[in-house]
């Protein structure tokens, strides 16, 4: 796996000189921060109103502010990722093809699988680096809460977001391998994510039918919901890992077809 390591290092060093990575990370953190603040404020206000009502009518009424904030935050993070991940992946193969460096990689003594894994792991690492600062918000939330909210919500939430991100990255890199233009790759990736997002909405009329069930199953954010509620369900794990495997295998096929196409 020396080849994977070489590709990984190359990718990482390029990420940190490319403005796109900084813009994407900056945009993500700005949006995540904005929504976190908004959700927290709303949950706090709601809980205060509820407490006042409870005093007025003498009925006990409790709102789990940190829990609501976390659930809301992970949910909105999933949605933000659908917009940010295309920026992270659009160039990963398209730019190499445009610059002619794909030829360098593909004539180096490393396998196509090593190239695909190296690039995927690098994108995943960048994604985790992007996610890391949101932990700061969680630290503040945990410090300010009494009693401390259940850790389960936090851990499961992050696992869900990482799996979602991992699946989006694999699919995004595949789309990037299909074209020489990173703009086109970005647009197609975003359209694909949009489809996966709204597919349950599109087929909602046919609920109960096969198409309806398939649509429900494919919907990419639906599978995040269980994680957000603190539940790790194997069907969701299978869903995300299948998407990751699918993305990587398709990318590998795409590299193979580059060797057969007329250059």
């Amino acid at each position: 796996m020396k080849g994977t390591n070489a590709v990984f290092r190359k990718e990482m060093s390029l990420y940190f000189v490319s403005p796109i990575a900084y813009v994407a990370i900056g945009a993500f953190l700005f949006l995540a921060g904005l929504f976190f603040q908004g959700i927290l404020a709303e949950a706090t206000e709601y809980s205060m109103r509820a407490a006042m009502q409870a005093m007025q009518f003498g009925t006990p009424f409790e709102i789990d502010v940190p829990g609501e904030t976390m659930r809301g935050f992970f949910g909105v993070t999933g949605t933000i990722l659908l917009f940010i991940v295309p920026m992270l992946t659009m160039g990963s193969y398209a730019e190499e093809r445009r610059r002619g460096t794909m030829e360098l990689l593909m004539t180096s003594p490393i396998t196509d699988l090593e190239i695909v894994l190296g690039k995927y792991l690098a994108a995943l690492s960048l994604f985790l680096i992007m996610l890391l600062p949101t932990a700061l918000q969680m630290v503040i939330l945990f410090k300010a809460s009494d009693p401390v909210p259940p850790w389960r919500l936090l851990v499961c939430g992050y696992i869900g977001v990482m799996l979602l991100g991992g699946a989006l990255l694999a699919l995004g890199q595949f789309v990037s391998s299909l074209t020489e233009s990173q703009i086109i790759a970005g647009i197609w990736t975003f359209l694909l994510f949009l489809m996966l997002w709204v597919v349950d909405f599109v087929v909602r009329g046919s609920a109960g039918s096969v198409a309806g069930d398939v649509g429900q199953y494919l919907s990419i954010l639906k599978h995040l919901n269980d994680f957000i509620r603190g539940v790790v369900d194997s069907s969701n794990l299978i869903y995300y890992f299948s998407l990751i495997a699918l993305g990587l295998i398709l990318t590998l096929r795409s590299l193979d077809s580059m060797r057969w196409r007329r250059a």
Binding site: A6, S13, R99, E103, L104, T107, R259, W260, A263
Partner: protein, 329 residues
């Protein structure tokens, strides 16, 4: 070192490379000459393991390029037509990256990167970002990239394109200096490049090899000496001139053509190699009462071979010029 046998590459209905066979010995520089679209790049891409061939075999250092692709790739340094550069990296950082991709052991990496920069003369730009370099420097960084892992075989696709004349000479010197330890295959559509750099030339046209011949240094014997003569015949006309020339020992073939209406005869005399028959020809012609108007030595040049090989079909004069000069771009 490189053995290619009946290699064919088919793209749909188009045959880019058609049953070509050639070999390059260790330490040799082979020039791959041909007009654009002749199949040079395709052949090189097959050798580097970038493209699979449709049929035929290619072996490099004893390894089959299809079955042992990774072993072959370890031993090849390859500069594609457009140097594969990362514009946001520094020259040194880029070469280090390439050295890693070529799986060079870490203890040799630093020394090899320095050596490659020295050879390609980019050391003074080592810290500079590649995107800030001129075209000539970029090309040299591309060359350094092909050398960094000290490969046995170096494959260069049009290595001097886009360079100014001074840089072209530098690159040619560099390539010549690499021969011996390295086996080099370079492609070009520029004729003088081959005669200046290569030991042997393979001329390829429309996917087929049309000539495979050694290149000799200027002034050396090329197999056949040619003497062009123009005379005003005394008696007997063109026929007599022809018989006279054919009788001179050492002459292989004579072709005469009387230009119309001038009363003169032009003859192309092919002589055996290494024999300078000019004085004999002159003496004999004058002795028979012919007026000698012009006599000049000529030799079969690479250009003749190239033109002969690549213009089997009637081509307009202008188009022929273009092929020699590589008139595209």
């Amino acid at each position: 070192m490189i053995e290619v046998e009946n290699l064919t590459k088919q793209y749909g209905a188009v045959r880019a490379v058609d049953q070509i066979s050639f070999r390059v010995d260790k330490g040799e520089i082979l020039g791959f000459l041909g007009p654009n679209g002749a199949g040079k790049t395709t052949t090189m891409r097959i050798l580097t393991g970038f493209l699979p061939a449709t049929s035929g075999t290619a072996r490099l250092a004893g390894f089959d390029v299809f079955e042992n692709s990774l072993e072959v790739r370890k031993r090849i340094g390859y500069l594609p037509e457009n140097p594969p550069l990362y514009p946001d990296m520094s020259v040194e950082g880029y070469l280090d990256t390439v050295a890693r991709l070529k799986l060079l052991p870490s203890d040799r990496r630093k020394a090899r990167v320095d050596a490659a920069m020295e050879m390609a003369r980019v050391t003074e730009k080592r810290r500079e970002l590649i995107k800030r370099l001129s075209r000539g420097y970029k090309q040299r960084v591309g060359l350094a990239q092909a050398l960094v892992h000290d490969p046995e075989v170096i494959i260069l696709d049009e290595p001097t394109v886009g360079l100014d004349p001074k840089q072209i000479i530098e690159v040619r010197h560099l390539i010549k200096g690499l021969a011996g330890d390295h086996t080099i295959l370079l492609s070009t559509h520029i004729l003088p490049e081959v005669s200046m750099t290569c030991d042997r030339v393979v001329i390829i046209n429309q996917g087929r090899i049309v000539a495979n011949t050694p290149v000799n240094a200027p002034g050396q014997d090329r197999g056949t000496e040619i003497v062009m003569v123009e005379v005003k015949p005394g008696g007997g006309g063109a026929g007599q001139v022809r018989t006279l020339l054919e009788r001179i020992p050492g002459v292989k073939r004579v072709r005469t053509e009387p230009p119309e209406g001038t009363g003169r005869v032009q003859a192309r005399v092919e002589c055996e190699s290494g024999r300078d028959l000019r004085s004999r020809i002159a003496a004999d012609l004058v002795a028979q009462g012919h007026e000698l108007l012009e006599l000049r030595a000529s030799r079969v040049s690479l250009e003749d071979i190239f033109l002969q090989a690549t213009t089997q079909e009637p081509v307009e004069a202008g188009a022929t010029e273009k092929i020699i000069a590589g008139g595209e771009r």
